[in-house]
Symmetry: D2
Subunit: 251 residues, 4 copies
């Protein structure tokens, strides 16, 4: 039990409450509950849910302190997220190695922008079919994923996407409208690993797509923290020579 | 004139005012003035100075709007820098392509951390001789720089340095104490280019070193903005199809 | 004169000799001559031509020794290129910093594969319109290039493209067929800089496209060698300590 | 059983046969046998040995076809390795995703140079103590490894090391002589993953060092192939449109 990867799926969980919305139709219990349903297929994951309207926005320090990988779904309410929560998430990623999986519109969420260092700017449009291309099939996040797969409908996200060069660019999307988009990208920041994956608009069924599910399962595992062989210090420690004779350090 | 690269060198400019300090001895007119003295040897640079204790901390919007490359030297007074200045600097880098050259302790400055996405954490110690190694001699920032050069004395900065993987790792430092440090690294963030270079402790003469001067001249030129062939939009524009028949967009 | 960048454009120059072919229609004097015509607009370039059927395949050692940037166009006759020429090109890139600009089907040419370390494998199809997207507008190779531009017809090149992760991924192509392709990518290998750019099928007019021309002008300048501040040694030199007392090296 | 990672450790196995040599003292059964002894501690690895003087140099096609990760130790006899073996190794990495772990002097081996695309050039010297620094503690290859560790004696390998920018730079070495070296680096090439790790001179006891052993165990696991969700094609397949009406492809 103790060795399970502890995943917290955070969701605004507001769109799905709009009566008669497609969000409600596709995700009656919330996007986060749908994601949990397929992550639960992995024996080594222990998944809990958190929402914007929970106390402490669902992510008090004690939850984050006990989270190995935080998945984030936000779209229209980025500005409601408290800055102290953002700051603690960043701290947990940089210092504690907590993984961060950013879904869809999280490209513009406060935590993603603060962790990665980006404005998250891109172009966007209506919903169209999308073909997802696998650019790095050798990567663990692409394990079991075909060379391309279809999404019946997704929000148009398009280049230029003003992100830092990814450590790994794993997926890119094609739209019939003439647009492309770097849709799956990894980053390392401090001790933590970050994966951005674009599918998942609230009014599209992408989280029911088996390939999207496979990618997210892989992504959560990839972002899980590695155990370093030393205690990562807080801040910038003062150090003394480990080699040679340096009398002025003999205090 | 219009085509010159407009450089603003920002400095805390407090250490150098301490009577009898080494900072004052090495940099009687300030570290920024010393940097200006050698950048002025480049005909294509137009260099101005700015200090923490100037009005608007030396960097009101109109100065930043007319700066192509901002050099930053800060060490002990990071927390005095106003958050609105940090935010505008980040905006200018991401949106306007302003270059950012981070000197020495700027690894922990607010703008560097916000632009790049890092805690800037490292280990540090007293002052020792340093040998600077050239890891990427093919890079424009290494033009004219030998395979290694000596710094007679520098503050010890040591790994692990918790930075994102650099786009280019150009220099790394060796200390006789048993430590090494990734000392010269580039990043691209939004439209802007960033260069971090480690030498330049206030009580060390590194800004008088010809190789350090060469590297910084190169770095300023490398960080100068490229003129894109389109107007980079603010934020995330809504776009329509550029290919195919999509009636729902015919509004 | 001495400071001009010396460019050699190498071309198979066989397709264009087929009577009545589109290659002949678009490039009556050869693809290489067409590329030269627009590179000649740059005052700082000195351009010469070389062909597969020239003596020594147009690239004897003395030509390569006096070339700063080698552009390569090959498609159907890769296997005719002599291995000793490939080896000397690789030597010039790794050791001498000669730039290498690989056009179109050069992804599968012997020199590109040997320099970069790749099979160059991709998927390909017939000719379709292509939209070229600008993924890294901050890069010098993208200077003056719009966020996207049209190619009226190009050979379909598609992912997965089994290349190493590029240092910079600058362009990617969209085809109406459902395919995308990483179309503009840089590499550093040894002392040399490499740029791959996909447009330029022999029966398509892409080398008449102003944006393609701009990209190739930029690419040639970007690949030009940087002058290091030391003599790059041949092979692996034996070295002695530069610090400390090491009696066994006192020979 | 079927799911074990099949590791083949290749060794020149000539130095260790020199009577009275340090190589024989430290590795009486060969460097490869010593590496096997600690890899065998991992239940999920199935390890076999291969040597330069075995039939087909120990690596006939059927061995390579059944190898998931190939470790390579070579130093003085690189030129004895048959080119057809090098070519098949490269094929297996690019096409089949076979991992490749290059130990010590394998930086200059034929397979490493061909796979990665490098001359492998560096500077080298006598043997000195080395401190290995952990630059990317978040990486799986650094799991369980301290922030630095000592090697009592290693051959001096020094910068500039003319390698392509690593995907991940995980370790770098410090020598008391004033030199540093990028000692642990990863690459992705085609479908395969590559890890270079510097310790392991034949007359030094580094393969008895617990931290070196930990790194190599991690490295073998990291290089093991990922199972893609499609059959990776040989060469460059011809493809048809997957979207839209394209009559000319209706053959």
């Amino acid at each position: 039990m103790a060795n399970k990867i502890r995943v917290t799926i955070w969701n605004e969980f507001r769109h799905e409450k709009n009566e008669g919305s497609l969000a409600q139709k596709y995700y009656p219990n919330g996007i986060h509950a749908q994601i949990k349903s397929f992550l639960d297929e992995c024996d080594d994951l222990e998944v809990r849910l958190a929402c914007l309207d929970d106390p402490d926005q669902g992510i008090p320090n004690e939850v984050l302190d006990n989270t190995d990988v935080l998945m984030w779904w936000g779209h229209c309410y980025h500005s409601d997220v408290r800055d102290d929560r953002v700051e603690y998430i960043r701290h947990r990623v940089y210092q504690g190695g907590m993984g961060f999986v950013a879904c869809h519109s999280a490209h513009e969420s406060k935590p993603f922008k603060a962790i990665v260092g980006t404005s998250g700017a891109l172009s966007w449009g209506d919903e169209y079919p999308e073909i997802m291309w696998n650019l790095k099939p050798s990567h663990p996040i692409a394990a079991g994923v075909p060379d391309h797969f279809d999404l019946e409908l997704e929000e148009l996200y398009a280049e230029p996407f003003y992100i830092p060069d990814p450590d790994d660019l794993i997926f890119a999307g094609w739209y019939p409208t003439g647009h492309i988009f770097r849709a799956g990208a990894t980053y390392t920041r401090g001790m933590g690993r970050v994966f951005y994956f674009q599918p998942g608009h609230e009014s599209c069924p992408s989280f029911h797509n088996p390939n999207v599910q496979q990618v997210l399962k892989n992504g959560v595992h990839w972002c899980a923290p590695t155990k370093p062989g030393y205690d990562v210090p807080q801040g910038c420690p003062y150090i003394k020579p480990i080699y040679g004779e340096w009398p002025k350090n003999e205090d």
